[in-house]
């Protein structure tokens, strides 16, 4: 019995020896670059690495501003773009801190949200919308969805910059209406852009269910932008 077992064991061992223990460790980008370039990225100057990443981020912003049915955002996702947009928006949207030297204790500056509040609203909102998309049966990974949602805030950021420029002039009802229209247009643009990217990942009859929370998310961000009347 022992001999039979040892013979079987030896046979298994030969099978083990036939398994190739060499090969290439393929990374997701190996399709575009050769094996030699993977080693060269360690030797290249830092400027090249940074410029390559910035170029990738820039290409994604371009895809968002001119949305077509493309897979660029989904295939190579990154979170740099959403982080840049979120930090920029939070810095622009934060109100002045409460003025302690004022005689009236109820005077709290212009009442805008703090940096941390905008940051939390952005990321928690993106996480909630992503969870909802996944629960509805979408075949998209968690970070891909957050990447798309973050990048599609770009039109709203452009609207924020335009509103900030408009706010330099003295305010009137007409300027408020102009700001309102600009923000609404950016809101529609953002929602349409995110729909163009996320639509394929949902079953066709449930697209409306997945789009509605995205609509609400951008609505809240648009509300934050419209209500920002920074008085410097």
């Amino acid at each position: 019995m022992a001999d039979v077992e040892s013979v079987d064991f030896l046979k298994n061992q030969e099978g083990l020896n036939d398994v190739p223990l060499e090969g290439e460790i393929l990374s997701p980008n190996a399709g575009t670059e050769g094996e030699e370039q993977e080693f060269n990225t360690l030797d290249e100057p830092v400027r090249e690495t940074i410029m390559r990443d910035l170029k990738a981020i820039g290409i994604k912003f371009w895809h968002v501003l001119y949305p077509k049915q493309s897979k660029a955002l989904l295939k190579e996702w990154d979170l740099w773009g959403p982080l840049i947009l979120c930090v920029f928006m939070a810095i622009m949207l934060q109100g002045s801190s409460p003025d302690s030297s004022s005689s009236n204790t109820k005077d709290k500056g212009d009442g805008g949200p703090q940096f941390a509040e905008v940051f939390v609203i952005f990321w928690v909102g993106a996480v909630v919308v992503t969870l909802n998309t996944k629960l509805l049966g979408g075949n998209i990974s968690f970070f891909q969805s957050i990447c798309v949602l973050g990048y599609c805030v770009c039109p709203l950021t452009v609207a924020l910059i335009v509103c900030r420029i408009i706010l330099i002039a003295t305010q009137s009802t007409l300027l408020f209406i102009i700001r309102f229209v600009i923000v609404i247009a950016a809101f529609g643009w953002s929602t349409f852009a995110s729909t163009a990217f996320l639509a394929d990942s949902q079953p066709s009859h449930r697209k409306a269910l997945a789009i509605y929370p995205i609509f609400l998310f951008y609505f809240v961000i648009s509300w934050l932008i419209i209500s920002h009347t920074h008085t410097s």
């Binding site: 109100g95 005689s103 969870l131 909802n132 629960l135």
Partner: protein, 301 residues
């Protein structure tokens, strides 16, 4: 090689069973064991054997406890941390959501058959988020200089606390009163009931009558009443016994209707107070005080 062959099948069982024998065997059977358990000896051989045994024992026990703990944690995480637990509650179609939203305004008379209570979380969750968004919209429409950050946090907290808190309270009461309704069904029911609140707040903000609340009370009675009657009908059809039915229906009706009143008046009040305070421009008052002080001091001198 023989050792590896021996330990290989036991490693496959590692996730299910920890065999005390294996733990000891691994220590003794490995080719690469360095005896780390033996610390620097004093040189005295007296108690060193006992200490050695004790150290090995504590090490083995610690490792055992650690392995058991990590495996239990992994099993618990795979059981409860899995997002797929919630997946069946999001399995809806858009037309179903639309139908259920409309039916939340159409109460049915409680008869002997149980009324349909849905086990769904997508629709109620979207209704709660819409309610939060409408509350923010209402605050913004009322005045343009309010603390957005604090009000957003408050809106979020209030809506979710109401939804989950009332569901918990109703679940406890239905347990006491022996009603045939589960917690998920209560969450769905209350969530869809908030659709009435959404409609009232939306209409109340768009058609703004600041000093006369009659229009709001009309909306409150109509939409609030319809959604309350719908929820009460569902609960009554699933409860037996007069006093139990009375307790459940009065509780849910009271909380539901009072919440709508709270949403309208509390936020309205905050906004009106803040706008009154901010519009009065307190900076102007300060020089007057300074002048008064100066005149008084001059008068004294």
């Amino acid at each position: 090689m023989a050792d590896r062959g021996q330990s290989w099948p036991t490693q496959q069982d590692e996730s299910a069973i920890i065999d005390l024998g294996d733990v000891n065997d691994r220590d003794d059977g490995s080719d690469y064991e360095t005896d780390m358990s033996r610390g620097p000896t004093d040189g005295s051989g007296k108690g060193s054997l006992e200490e050695d045994v004790r150290k090995r024992l504590t090490d083995n026990v610690t490792q055992m406890v650690w392995n058991a703990g990590t495996q239990q944690a992994k099993r618990a995480w795979s059981l409860y941390g899995n997002i797929d637990i919630l997946r069946p509650y999001f399995n809806v179609e858009p037309h179903e959501v639309r139908t259920r939203l409309l039916q939340s305004f159409l109460p049915r008379m409680p008869s002997s058959e149980k009324q349909r209570a849905y086990r769904e979380l997508y629709g109620p969750l979207m209704v709660v988020f819409t309610l939060i968004a409408l509350l923010l919209f209402q605050m913004k429409a009322a005045e343009h200089k309010v603390e957005e950050g604090t009000l957003m946090g408050t809106a979020f907290g209030v809506c979710f606390t109401y939804w989950w808190g009332t569901a918990a309270l109703m679940w406890f009461l239905s347990y006491v009163c022996n009603a045939h309704i589960t917690s998920i069904q209560l969450l769905s029911l209350l969530g869809y009931g908030l659709a009435g609140h959404c409609v009232v707040i939306l209409l109340g903000t768009l058609i703004h009558t600041s000093h006369d609340h009659l229009f709001f009370y009309l909306l409150w009675a109509v939409f609030g009443g319809l959604s309350t009657l719908k929820m009460v009908g569902v609960i009554l059809s699933r409860t037996h016994g007069k006093s139990q039915r009375l307790i459940l229906s009065c509780t849910i009706a009271a909380i539901h209707l009072l919440f709508l009143l709270y949403l309208h008046f509390a936020y309205h009040q905050i906004v009106e107070d803040l706008s009154r305070v901010l519009d009065s421009d307190p900076v102007v008052k300060q020089p007057e005080v300074v002048n008064n002080v100066r005149t008084v001091s001059k008068g004294e001198i």
